[in-house]
Every structure is written in structure tokens, then in C-alpha cells.
Symmetry: C2
Subunit: 344 residues, 2 copies
């Protein structure tokens, strides 16, 4: 589908104008705004051609043109120019991320905040998960009679700990033994493997500590799950209402319904390209409910490993250039925040 230069210019004009105004774009307005050196009539002819190829469509006979899904795709792939953040905006991002002490939850909040400041789309991200992290060592440290601390140390340096209650007849020696067995079984495995290889193997080995081990394994599972679980965070629900497409409540409801089901968002995040910003337009999001939406996603990493994905969701009439820039920039900052200094 090679378009001649002028058709490209017209398509670009239509897409950009429509992104800006949310209204169908007329031949006259293009002639006025963009200096193509031709009259509206000529543009109309080009438009008729573009419509025939299926890159734009007419909401009704006497209306201007609107890009079709394929039109947006063509625009994103071939015509769109990269934008940059303004220095002001970069500063804003730095300010948001410039918290002194870094707790994971805070970083995620910062991310949501930063993106909602920069765009009027829905933001969502799958929280860092470390299912491929390798378990280095488990420690069970008694704090006082009947109370101990379960410590899980990963190769990456992450340390997780949780308190456990013990029946008071468990001795320090018992704990040492349990620790030994747990390490014997789990050391060197990834978190994913541990949760999958039935924890019951260990259970049998330590059958004489029945009650205690039950409890410990339970806690261990919680700790591991916390690492492995790909949490989903969402923000910008109020910002999205600024988009004119959502001045109709029915549309708002649709959207809310869509994002309410976590699996929808997970699916969008799932097949993000690890090497570049991914754009999904309309039906490219494989969901019947999402045919009117577009999503822009990119992965972020911690210490070189991909640990999660950040996404924007908005109407198909999304400012793709802007969205891509923001997503790219924020995932980079986020990766830095997660990798550079230690995050607790």
C-alpha cells in the first residue's frame, strides 16, 4: 500500500487534526491549516481515494473524514513524527521521582502520578514481579519464644521477611533443622519453580514438625507469591473523562466495564514488545469491548531483567506520538529507579 506523497500528507493532516479536535476533518479545514498548495476540491479527491483504500471513513454523507483503524496504523507506522518532552515536563518527572527513600509501593504511585500528570489517558502497570529470581537462602530467626522471622534472600539481592508465630515448644535447634531442610530443597530454584514444585515434598520430609512446618510453608508461599504475583495498578480514571469521547455516559460505562476486568488490562500488557514501545489500535487489542480503544505499552526492568509493563489506554483518537514518548520516558525513569539505587 504505497501512497503518493500528497495522499500521505492528507492522511497525516486528517489524523493529526482529528486527534486534536475529535471532530471529523473536512477538506476545507485541511486546505486552510496545512499548506498543501491545493484546493479543497483536490483534497476531496484524495480523500475519496483514501476512503476507498480503507484508511479513512465518513461518519455520514455530509460529514468530514475520520481515520479508520488502519488509517491510524498507517500513521503510526509511517507518518508520525516523534515528539519530545519539554524541559518543564522532564523536570516535573524528576521531581515526582525524587523521593528520598524508595519503597516499592511508593515508586509505583510515583509512576502513576507522573503519567497522569503528563497525559489524560488511563495508566496501568503490572507491578514488578520476579518469578525468575533465584532463591539464595532461607533463614528462620527466632525473635522470642513463639515468634520467629522467616527471611527469604534472592540472588538479585532482594530480601523478603515476614514474622511467623510458632508453637512455643519449638526449639532453636528445631528451627535450624527446618531451615536446613528448606534450603536443601529450595536453594538455587527460581521462585516460580518453588511455588510449582509441590511444597508438599518438603512437608513430608519434615512431617514430625507437622504443625510448625505447615505454618512456615504457608508463610513462605505468601512471601513467594508476593514476589511472583504480577500486581496490577491503575490510575487516571478521572483524567480520561476529559476526553470528549467520554462526554457520553454510555461510553464511560463501557470503558469502566472494560477496565474493571483485570484480565483485559493484563492481556494488553502481556504481549508488549520487550525492545520497543508497542501500539495496539482498536481491534488489535483482541477484545470485542475494546474496538474503540487504543493502547500504548512498554516494558520496564530492574537490574537488567524485565519485571513489568506500563500501559496507556485511551480512545483510538489517541495522541500516539505523545503517548509513546511518555510511556518510553517513564519506563526508562522507572527502570532507573528500580535498578540504580536499592529499593526496599
Amino acid at each position: 500500500m504505497a501512497l503518493d506523497l500528497r495522499k500521505q500528507q492528507v492522511l497525516e493532516a486528517i489524523v493529526e487534526c482529528h486527534i486534536e479536535t475529535a471532530e471529523p476533518v473536512s477538506s476545507r479545514s485541511i486546505a486552510r491549516k496545512y499548506n498543501l498548495g491545493v484546493s479543497p476540491a483536490t483534497i476531496r479527491n484524495e480523500m475519496a481515494d483514501l476512503e476507498e483504500i480503507g484508511l479513512i471513513r465518513q461518519p455520514h454523507t455530509s460529514a468530514g473524514r475520520v481515520p479508520s483503524q488502519r488509517g491510524y496504523r498507517y500513521y503510526v507506522d509511517k507518518l508520525m513524527k516523534k515528539t519530545e518532552l519539554t524541559p518543564r515536563e522532564e523536570k516535573l518527572i524528576r521531581a515526582i521521582f525524587a523521593k528520598k527513600v524508595k519503597v516499592l509501593a511508593d515508586i509505583i504511585q510515583c509512576t502513576l502520578k507522573a503519567v497522569t500528570e503528563l497525559t489524560d489517558y488511563l495508566v496501568f502497570l503490572s507491578g514488578p514481579y520476579f518469578e525468575n529470581d533465584v532463591l539464595k537462602k532461607i533463614k528462620i530467626i527466632q525473635l522470642m519464644p513463639g515468634k520467629a522471622l522467616l527471611v527469604v534472600m534472592a540472588e538479585t539481592g532482594w530480601v523478603h521477611s515476614k514474622a511467623i508465630d510458632l508453637s512455643s515448644d519449638i526449639t532453636v535447634d528445631d528451627l535450624a533443622y527446618i531451615e536446613l531442610v528448606l534450603n536443601h530443597y529450595f536453594q538455587g530454584l527460581t521462585f516460580k519453580q518453588i511455588t510449582r514444585t509441590v511444597l508438599k515434598d518438603v512437608y513430608n520430609e519434615l512431617i514430625k514438625y507437622r504443625k510448625t512446618i505447615n505454618h512456615i510453608l504457608e508463610i513462605l508461599e505468601v512471601v513467594l507469591q508476593e514476589e511472583v504475583k504480577e500486581n496490577l495498578y491503575l490510575g487516571g480514571t478521572n483524567k480520561i473523562l476529559k476526553q470528549p469521547e467520554y462526554s457520553d455516559v454510555e461510553e464511560v460505562r463501557n470503558l469502566m466495564n472494560f477496565i474493571e476486568r483485570e484480565e483485559n488490562l493484563r492481556m494488553i500488557l502481556q504481549d508488549a514488545d520487550p525492545y520497543r514501545v508497542t501500539v495496539k489500535i482498536g481491534e488489535e487489542i483482541k477484545s470485542e469491548q475494546a474496538t474503540k480503544y487504543s493502547a500504548v505499552t512498554a516494558v520496564y526492568n530492574a537490574g537488567g531483567n524485565i519485571v513489568g509493563t506500563l500501559g496507556l489506554l485511551g480512545p483510538m483518537r489517541m495522541d500516539y506520538a505523545r503517548a509513546m514518548t511518555v510511556v518510553e520516558h517513564i519506563t526508562r525513569v522507572l527502570s532507573e529507579a528500580l535498578s540504580g539505587e536499592k529499593v526496599y
Copy 2:
């Protein structure tokens, strides 16, 4: 403001009918639905009286009546009958809370879920906070050279721990000494006191560990803050759209704007009565933006201490009986979940 019985019946009818239909209530519809044994004309007379007292109003001349803020207040205080959850609903709640392993974050999620299942209002709660918890003991446990675990134990039995990185020239003895000093300073104080009494006192005492102590205090602060911080959680944003008042996007925007500012919600939660379910109607929520909303709140506790508040926010035409029942029930279940078994 003593109303005779029939006026009360009429007011009750108007409120309940309006809560149900969201429409102005006419004299005829009351005569039809409620068997007051009088004609619409009589009811009209009563209505005129009620309007004069300011308990109901007329949106326009040829419309039915709508309860005023004071009308709702009268209804809630004097007329409303308590409702009960159905066995089905109770079962639903139990099912939602019946997770085996209890992580705090999960419990909060369950709470939000349960309430959104049971009502179509906004739910929000201030997360458990323990600023009055007393610090029992601090432990610093070395995990490996350059890495240690900071453990904070509270009188209530809650244990918090975080990993800390140390410069590798710190010995176990150093850590023991630091631990000693920290305990000396902080033992027996509430978390709130600790964060307020300048941590710098300790800093001076331990000046020779300068770098290390800096870091440890930083982490300690994070741990304490996590305890003290009254996190705010919000849910039901999509459910609220079911309310007919929000079929106008402008209304939705208003509402979103209101809930976007955390302090608004915090303020509502703040002055919840610790002994009973609190109802705030319209302007009783001291916010110009919230004159059309009502809120129902109740506190919940953990181990006998009040640790947070749960709230519902909806249009003034809220089903108060229902909302109060749900809030009361859920805070009870939540308190049980937080108190009964250990929560990790």
C-alpha cells in the same frame, strides 16, 4: 419539630419512594403505593405543610416532591427502619473473606470487593494505622557481610522487618551496640512519638557510626511511617455510575474531582463516631463540592484498638438503611479478620 403521625408517614413515603426511583414523588403515587387511607388531595395538603417546614421541596411547580437535606436527616434519625442482609449476602461476604492466608493488602482488597458487591456506592477506607502502637524491641540481625535485617517489634505483636545494606566494615558487635542504643532510646515509645521525637538525638549518640546509622535510621523511619501512615483505599468508581444521578457527565466529573482530592475523603473519615455508624448528609460533609452527596462511615478495629474507618459515598438520595447495614456489617467482619487470626 414534632410531626404528627401522618406527616411522618408521608415524609417516609416520599423519602423511600425517591430513594427507589430517583424521581420526584407525587401525591398520587403515595396514595397508590402506601395505604394511608387518605386521598391524594389530603396528602397534597400534608406535603404543602412539610414543604413549609423545609423537609421537602419541589424542583418546579408542576413536579412532585423531593426530600431536602433536612428531610433526609429527619428520616435517618426518626423514621428509617433497620434492614438486614439476606443470608445469601452474608454468605457472599464470608466467601470473599474466606481466604486462607491473610495479608493486610489482601484483606483491604476483600473489603473493597465485598462492599462494591453489596452496594453501588463509592467505598473508601483509611488503612489500618498503628500510631499508638508501642515499640517493644528493635533488632538488627546480620544476614551476610554488608546486609542486615532491621526488625521492629510492637507490643501488639506486629512485627515489621526490612533489609538494610551496610558498609562491609561494620561488625556484628557494632550492630549490637547500635541496636542497644536504639532500644534504649525508643523502647516503650509509641510509633508516633518516635517519628516526632527527633531521630537526631540518636544520631548524635551514634555519631561514630555516622554512615551506617544514617542509613538505619532512614529505614527505621520508613518502617515506622508504614505503620503510622493512614493509607487511603478507594473502590467502586464504576459501580457509582449506575446511580441515575450520574447519567450526566458533568455530575460524574464533579464527583471524580471530589474524590480525587484525598483530603476530602480523609475529612469524611476523620470524624466518624467510634461507637456507631455515622451518617453525613449533604452540607453536613463540610465541603462545598459535596453538598449533593452523603456519606456513611464506621470505624473498624484490630485487637480492640480503632485502626481505621470505612466509608461509603453516594448521592444524597442514598439508601441509608442499606448503606448503614452494609458498613456496619463489613466493619465488623473486617475487625474480626484483623483481630481474630494473626494477619501478616
